[in-house]
Symmetry: C2
Subunit: 280 residues, 2 copies
């Protein structure tokens, strides 16, 4: 999407960095949000080439009128050393997707991929505390979502990944920080789970099925999927909807992340955002 | 001014670099011109701090989707080493105000401050060839204008500057390149001149008078002034208008430079620009 915006000499800059960049939606979305909230700022697409990563990022961060960065594939881990300090999720998983310049010129970084999921679920009226979760995918998105789910008090978290090593690493990391939660690696979905989240890439391609055997679903199961397709719901979301489950899809997550990121960049505008959401 | 524009992931970037930056008009003006010509691009204000000049410029030029830079005070000379090649005016005066990325990734730089003046004068129907010119100011703007005036064939050029050394340096430089033109340093305006241009800063401040003794003016004298004020015409332009002279002011120059720069960045759109000007 693109947004109608105004730009002048005093306009403040934000940039989303990634490779490739032409497909990103953030420039249009955040630029429009800034405009709606009366903030004279734009979100630029910045195509950072892998071989020129350091000089591109240093150059952007050196600009006197650049106030923040959003970070997308493949740079979420590579940006970590550029933050002066990290929020709890970014520190835990050693990846970030947003950097904000503080008034003293230092940079705070944090990871909002998981916060977007949690915020979207809460906005739909879901209760997350006490849930028994099966999570497919322990990569970047899965790690971020896992962090946020244990932080909001799910009772158990089963990590399912074709690469058991990375699921195990994530499980150990989270178990150390959240001893009250039952965090473990699993080969499949156990019968007692009441929440299923797909954070794997299964579903991104036409003809993809479910991320794995999800067993029988009943209407009390909360089902989430990070996948965004251009062709309607993923197989997982479609199946869940048919069974009457509450669902959180990739579009919901993106909207949830918008709120979280706007709150990070412009805390004073966050209450306005919440008011606008309440009116949706 | 600000312009209503659309911005998305595929939008191409141009930036104007300077310090300070909040006062520049180029972001609004060029972003609007891009939009009018169906070019998906924006012109950003980039606040480049003097102590972080090299890293800022290198970072911007490293971005895969940045196609050009406009350069303003105080960086027109400092940017020269970043160009792979220079146009004739930029090479002569060792200053540039625009850089364009070529398809092979190299950078071409040139200086359009003088071209803007010449283009504005021609658009008003002025004949420049054969003129006997008195030019106040041999700094950046004066040097650029002097270059373009001798290139379009003025008969003589008297350079008047409180610092005779820099007027002398410019005169020698131009005389070597354009032996047919009578180029010399002068202390004041001689009686035979039929064109007066102010490229000094006199006129920028409220209460400023003329840049020097301009002698009697008649209606055949072409009078130009680089000064842009927020409070109406400069004393020089006001005086010239009262005498019935054809005038070229700072706003005319900025408009002329817009055309020259758009032609530099997007040669294929230049003919459209000329068509639009013809319709003004």
């Amino acid at each position: 999407m693109t947004a109608a915006v105004r730009i002048g000499g005093a306009t403040r800059l934000y940039a989303i960095i990634g490779d490739p960049i032409a497909q990103v939606k953030s420039p249009g979305v955040y630029t429009m949000l800034f405009a709606e909230r009366g903030i004279d700022a734009v979100m630029l697409p910045a195509h950072v080439l892998p071989g020129r990563f350091d000089e591109s990022v240093r150059g952007l961060m050196a600009l006197g009128n650049l106030d923040g960065l959003v970070v997308t594939v493949p740079y979420k881990a590579r940006m970590v050393p550029f933050a002066t300090r990290l929020g709890p999720t970014a520190a835990r998983i050693a990846a970030l997707n947003a950097l904000r310049r503080e008034p003293d010129g230092t940079w705070s970084g944090d990871m909002f991929d998981g916060a977007g999921f949690v915020q979207a679920a809460l906005r739909k009226g879901a209760v997350l505390a006490g849930r028994r979760v099966a999570l497919f995918g322990a990569g970047g998105a899965g790690s971020a979502i896992a962090c946020e789910l244990v932080a909001v008090g799910v009772a158990s978290l089963a990590l399912i990944d074709p690469a058991p090593q990375r699921a195990d690493t994530l499980a150990r990391l989270l178990a150390a920080a959240f001893p009250a939660c039952d965090i473990h690696v699993a080969a499949g979905v156990a019968g007692d789970r009441d929440m299923i989240v797909n954070a794997s890439t299964v579903g991104m391609h036409a003809g993809d099925g479910l991320p794995g055997d999800i067993g029988p679903l009943d209407a009390r199961t909360l089902v989430g999927d990070v996948v965004v397709t251009g062709t309607g719901p993923s197989a997982l979301i479609r199946t869940a909807s048919e069974r009457g489950c509450l669902t959180v899809d990739g579009h919901d997550m993106f909207a949830g992340q918008m709120d979280a990121l706007m709150g990070f960049f412009h805390p004073e505008a966050a209450s306005l955002a919440q008011a606008a959401n309440a009116a949706d």
